[in-house]
């Protein structure tokens, strides 16, 4: 098991109190797996991604563990995390432009970066060139400034740099969101290629766009208001969602081919709860069409047949075994 996250809690410090952006999530990412992380803005998906590599100043580690290849990531210790960054955990941020130094040519920037990490840049040079070619970039980009590249090229340069030392875990945070459709496809497919060639072991691909996730991810984890809602293989999330939130989310997506006159889609009424003082029980309760009195208790996270769900009312997938009381690792 490449990554094992156990009951991770990370809050944001604000003047009004702690915003519980990540409030107890538990999951695993297998070797060679691309796990998609989906959810609306403010559901904690980027917080989860960031907390696995670097907490920014406002974020506060509260509880939980993250174990990568048998080694615990010291999330709470910024200094100790440095040994893991780039070598074992790497990130591709949403805006590639802000990840590249605008005053350095790409080649020189990579050179400096590697030296700062104690790696001999000359040794990695052939591998760097090979990988740039692989993602469809000319070696010439090394002599260019970031401003001279297009958005998709910058995104791919950052992807090559991030994975240069073959990290075990790559976090891709909304990397396709700011791109045009054709570039988006090329970048998303490059990610899959990077995994297929073994440059990274596992990947967490964060995006709000379920359609893109379906294209690249093996499993999809849906978050809602700082907690996990559902986890299942990508095909299952799209074709057979069980959590009412996932179901409504999937059915609200307009696809090419769906037209207003023929099929009017509906959104989800209401808005996510404030995480400053989140409601007790199921957090989707106020917007959920299935909600009952039982939902005032927090639903346990139940994992079965490779899919997990946190919902009292969702119908379980038909299982051949006689119906046993659902007991999961409730927390």
């Amino acid at each position: 098991m490449a990554l094992h996250v156990d009951d991770l809690r990370v809050y944001y410090r604000t003047l009004a109190g702690d915003v519980k952006a990540l409030d107890g999530v538990t999951f695993e990412v297998a070797d060679g797996e691309i796990m998609g992380l989906a959810g609306e803005s403010g559901c904690g998906k980027s917080t989860l991604g960031k907390s696995l590599i670097r907490l920014d100043g406002r974020m506060r580690y509260v509880d939980g563990h993250a174990v990568l290849d048998g080694e615990e990531l010291p999330i709470w210790d910024d200094g100790a995390m440095n040994a893991f960054r780039f070598r074992s955990v790497s990130i591709v941020p949403q805006y590639a432009m802000s990840a590249l130094n605008p005053t350095r040519k790409i080649g020189r920037m990579i050179h400096e970066l590697l030296r700062a990490r104690g790696v001999d840049p000359h040794k990695t040079q052939p591998e760097l060139q090979r990988r740039l070619e692989l993602v469809g970039l000319d070696i010439g980009v090394l002599g260019l400034y970031p401003i001279e590249l297009s958005g998709g090229m910058k995104q791919r340069v950052v992807m090559v740099i991030s994975t240069l030392l073959d990290p075990a875990l790559l976090i891709a945070d909304e990397i396709t969101s700011a791109l045009d459709v054709s570039t988006q496809k090329a970048v998303a497919q490059t990610l899959v290629e990077i995994r297929d060639r073994g440059f990274v072991k596992s990947m967490i691909f964060i995006t709000h766009d379920l359609a893109v996730l379906y294209q690249v991810a093996d499993t999809i984890l849906v978050m809602y208001a700082g907690k996990l809602a559902e986890k299942a293989p990508a095909d299952e999330i799209v074709s057979n969602p069980r959590h009412p939130y996932t179901r409504l989310l999937v059915s609200s997506l307009p696809e090419v081919g769906v037209r207003y006159e023929e099929k009017e889609l509906t959104g989800i009424p209401g808005r996510p709860p404030s995480l400053l003082d989140p409601p007790t029980g199921c957090r989707f309760r106020s917007r959920c069409p299935l909600a009952t009195a039982r939902c005032e208790q927090e639903p346990p996270w139940v994992e079965q047949n490779g899919r997990g769900i946190a919902c009292w009312e969702a119908k379980p997938t038909p299982v051949p075994a006689p119906a046993a009381p659902l007991v999961g690792n409730a927390r």
Partner: protein, 293 residues
Amino acid sequence: MLRLDGVSKTYRVGSLGRGRLTAVRDVSFELNPGEVLSVIGESGSGKSTIGRMILRLLLPTAGSITYDDADIGALHRGALKDYYRNVQGVFQDPFSSYNPIFKADRIFSMVHAEFFPRVGADEWRQRVHEALESVGLNPRDCLHKFPHQLSGGQLQRLLIARALLLDIQYLVADEIISMLDASTRIDVLNLLADLKTRGLGILFITHDLSLGNYISDRTIILRHGCVVELGATQKVFGDPRHAYTQDLLASVPLLSEKWRRSDAGSSPAVRLPEQAEAPELVRVDDDHLVAAG
């Protein structure tokens, strides 16, 4: 009717404006009442420039935009104000469209003072409430709040309500739902479709093909400022004739079908060379024009 005739726009770029960048080349189309026309293109295709020219935030370098046979470039003072009573725009980022220190109702009072000074306060309140209800907002929930207290979907609907107060005939909607979450964006989209059935003409500018397909009657595909394909939405999406349109459609991620893996990691979709002149449009079907070459 809103009509664009051979409209081009060239920006001056670079130091001292020595460079020239042609954002829109020789674009012609009509927008009728009760119709949603999608303008779809990738970044840099000139789609927003077209919207801004229609709103007269920019003047075209060549060609003309006419509203009911009057060239909007020649409108001044009272006539221009009348134009804005009829044509309004809503933009992408709802959070930057508002003044953060004004409460939401202030934008309505500004419309009141500017356009309807003779309408009494009570009647105006009534009109505001009607406009809010027609966009699915509860006046009590949103009027006395600051923008940061409202969600993106609510803010966009407030802006549409503001436009509706002016008895508009046409709305330029420039990427108005790109910043919204999946669960709320469809509601705003349905609202636009509802306004259309009430006779509003909507120019729906987007980069998202599935949204354009969902809502629009007619579609324009733009590339490097030139019209590549234009026609009834079902024809453009159902039977794309131009290589660029086909290419775009093949890149759209679908929930029903995975991308073909054969071209994994290949270079981004066909990059046709930029042309100096706008290609000529050829009629291939009823209400379906395609750029030659």
